[in-house]
């Protein structure tokens, strides 16, 4: 069988003896697979933090690729704020069943009921920050030593500084000024008992990389990522869902029905929609390519202050 030399990044198919298409993500995909294997080899109790969003769904596909034909050798964990889009939860349960994975769910509501955190109130009330306590408790409960997440450096400026293996002390805190240098491919996962490492396999991906990958791999994602009719209201230039009572709405905020989709899927209380007619993955990718607003521009939790994310990260947020 002849081997066609074309690009260094291509792998040749035995059956078809042709170069695999779309090389767009190959370097990034190879890097992510490498990171997943380092996690499985270096840690005793890793867990993949699964939010039901596109980034964590992409992580699951990459983990499948890293360990095929074996199953993904660690469980998924969802920190449920209780304010998730119902579509996301349904999607999560279906995915876990199809891939025969173990799913752990821990609820922010439980942390509230136990008096560990206090629910925010008012116009911008969100359970987003409250997740941190529930997450840290779960890490302690299961003694997880590595938590894999879908954070990307292009999302936000504090995340741009994040390492691939990011050490948290036993209070879950991030010491951003004293991070381990990461040279070449080598990942140092040595930690002390009680510490844990946050692992970010798609650190170097951009939002467009993720969407292109979802398209190329034909990965299924929750329906709310595609344009759909929804009852919404406007506030501060953001579009909020009015279909449930999670988002606080004042009486003078008028509800209307529009075609929208979500570009990022976080807690409902802090995730705004965008007006869109993109009802297929092709159209969504096209829209992202042309977009002039950054992805986290629709996350109200980042607008609290210039350093909102950095502060949350120091406290143990993802």
């Amino acid at each position: 069988m002849s081997i066609i030399e074309t690009d260094l990044d291509t792998v040749l198919d035995v059956e078809q003896s042709k170069v695999l298409g779309a090389l767009r993500n190959n370097d990034l995909e190879n890097e992510a697979i490498y990171i997943f294997r380092e996690v499985a080899a270096q840690f005793e109790r890793p867990v993949l933090l699964f939010s039901g969003g596109k980034d964590s769904i992409t992580l699951v596909r990459l983990a499948q690729k890293a360990f095929y034909p074996a199953k993904i050798p660690f469980p998924l964990m969802h920190i449920d704020t209780g304010h998730n889009f119902p579509e996301t939860i349904a999607f999560r349960d279906k995915l876990v069943q199809e891939l025969d994975l173990e799913l752990i769910v821990r609820n922010v509501q439980d942390s509230i009921d136990q008096g560990k955190v206090v629910e925010e109130s008012g116009k911008y009330a969100s359970r987003n920050i409250l997740q941190t306590t529930t997450l840290l408790d779960a890490i302690e409960e299961f003694k997880f030593d590595a938590c894999i997440g879908g954070a990307r450096r292009d999302e936000e400026k504090a995340r741009a500084k994040e390492r691939i293996f990011s050490v948290r002390d036993d209070f879950g805190q991030w010491d951003e000024k004293n991070q381990r240098p990461e040279v070449f491919d080598m990942l140092n996962g040595q930690i002390e008992l009680g510490q844990n490492v946050r692992v970010f396999p798609i650190s170097n991906w951009t939002e467009l990389d993720v969407w292109s990958y979802i398209q190329k791999e034909a990965i299924e994602i929750p329906s709310i990522y595609f344009a759909h009719k929804r009852k919404i209201f406007l506030r501060d230039g953001f579009i909020w869902s009015a279909e449930d009572d999670v988002v606080f709405r004042a009486e003078d905020e008028v509800v209307e029905e529009r075609m929208v989709r979500f570009r990022t899927v976080g807690d409902m209380s802090c995730t705004a929609a965008v007006l869109s007619d993109a009802d297929t993955i092709e159209k969504v990718v096209g829209e992202i390519r042309a977009s002039k607003i950054s992805e986290r521009g629709a996350r109200i939790d980042d607008k609290r202050s210039e350093a909102a994310m950095e502060k949350r990260k120091q406290q143990g947020y993802f």
Binding site: K65, A66, A160, E182, D185, Q190, N204, S294, G297
Partner: protein, 415 residues
């Protein structure tokens, strides 16, 4: 589409952040909300121009002091390439961040302030990029607007830099000079109308033209085993796959290989990438390999082609860049991580400290402090399978881990 990673180095006021901001601005990579934030903050500070440094200086401490203290990663793309910029701080005390940023980059930008010319920091930045064998270095002579876009000044600085180039160890490094004004936008993305005497490419044009095959170093194929995949399912009952990344060259089905350290020989039976089998795995691909024979292979072992053996030894000498606040001293023991393989290492000898500005060596050495670079001999508890860093960037490098703090304390380049 290709991904090109570029490390930037410059001193505190060379305008590194402004250059990156300009790259993003002129490639229309800044989104409206980010632009708005920059405009708002620039106005608050009373600047009459856009303060692009806000794009890169992500941490509160950095914004307070107006400096960059950690490697930040910035992403942008053109229709032909995706770019990752590893923005590393340039001051003396942060050499470790420069080494970190440069280790994963294929190209580097060294910034020079046209008013100041080649200074100590420039020597240092060049030294580190050369030590790390970065193939493409762009010397961007910035702030040309402040020297009246003078060709004479540009030539003067170029000549000074060329003097440095004679001293470098890695002579094949390709060096390109570009006169720019990041603040005004000359020769960054768009050609300068103020410097008609410059006939070369703009910074971005140069990057766009870089051939990817050229910017990666080639060596012999090495396959360090990361993880053994044993599904234990009915369908794959006897499956034993060796998961890892191919470095240096390529591996194909049928290749005769040697497993290190056991020296067992076998043949590559299958190469998997996810659920498909391939004839050949090219360098940098993360694949799973099965062998014809039942061979005992575990994490840290290495598959190499018969006749292509690396050096197998318990002792070697390396150039070490020290990154920890606790000194490296004679007799100290560390965990040495070579790729995915870990052994114990003892410091046998510290030969000399290398002054990273080409001013010579320091032979009176008792220990290494943070940011020191030195030639050190190590003795190991078990042999490792290495190439020299010159031959193989991946298989010729290692990190040292402090067993007390678990910190990555240093990085080494095997000689």
């Amino acid at each position: 589409m290709e991904v090109l990673k570029i490390a930037t180095a410059g001193s505190v006021d060379d305008g590194k952040s402004t250059l990156i901001g300009r790259l993003l601005y002129d490639t229309k990579s800044l989104t409206d909300d980010k632009l708005e934030a920059i405009e708002k903050t620039s106005k608050q500070k009373g600047y009459d121009y856009l303060d692009f440094s806000l794009v890169t200086d992500g941490l509160v401490a950095e914004r307070e002091q107006g400096i960059t203290i950690d490697v930040a990663h910035i992403y942008f793309s053109t229709p032909t390439k995706s770019y990752i910029i590893a923005d590393t701080p340039g001051h003396l005390e942060y050499t470790r961040n420069m080494v970190t940023g440069a280790s994963t980059s294929q190209a580097a930008i060294i910034l020079i302030d046209a008013r100041k010319g080649v200074i100590d920091q420039t020597n240092r930045h060049f030294f580190i990029n050369n030590l790390l064998r970065i193939k493409e270095v762009i010397v961007a002579i910035n702030k040309m607007d402040l020297v009246d876009f003078s060709e004479e000044r540009y030539q003067e600085i170029k000549a000074d830099f060329e003097e440095l180039m004679g001293k470098r160890d890695y002579q094949d490094q390709k060096i390109t000079f570009i006169p720019v004004s990041a603040l005004k936008g000359d020769n960054v993305v768009n050609p300068s109308i103020n410097m008609p005497w410059y006939k070369g490419q703009t910074l971005l044009e140069h990057f766009e033209d870089l051939d990817k095959e050229d910017v990666y170093n080639v060596g012999t194929p090495r396959f360090p085993v990361q993880y053994v995949i044993r599904p234990k399912t009915e369908e794959f009952h006897d499956f034993r796959g060796f998961a890892g990344k191919v470095y240096g060259g390529e591996l194909s089905v049928g290749d005769e290989v040697v497993v290190l350290p056991s020296m067992t020989r076998s043949k590559i039976k299958e190469i998997y990438f996810y659920d498909k089998k391939y004839q050949t795995a090219t360098r940098r691909s993360s694949v799973t390999i099965t062998l014809e024979d039942e061979v005992n292979v575990s994490r840290g072992d290495m598959l190499v082609k018969v006749g292509d053996l690396p050096t197998i030894d318990k002792q070697f000498t390396a150039t070490v860049s020290w990154m920890d606040s606790q000194n490296l001293n004679l007799g100290n023991k560390y965990v040495l991580q070579h790729g995915v393989n870990k052994v114990l290492a003892k410091v046998e000898n510290i030969h000399h400290k290398i002054k990273p500005d080409y001013s010579g060596v320091d032979t009176e050495v008792s220990g290494l402090a943070m940011n020191d670079i030195a030639q050190v001999t190590f003795r190991l508890n078990k042999p490792i399978f290495y190439d020299t860093f010159k031959e193989h960037r991946t298989n010729g490098s290692f990190i040292l881990i402090d067993n007390q703090t678990n910190n990555t304390a240093g990085v080494g380049f095997i000689e």
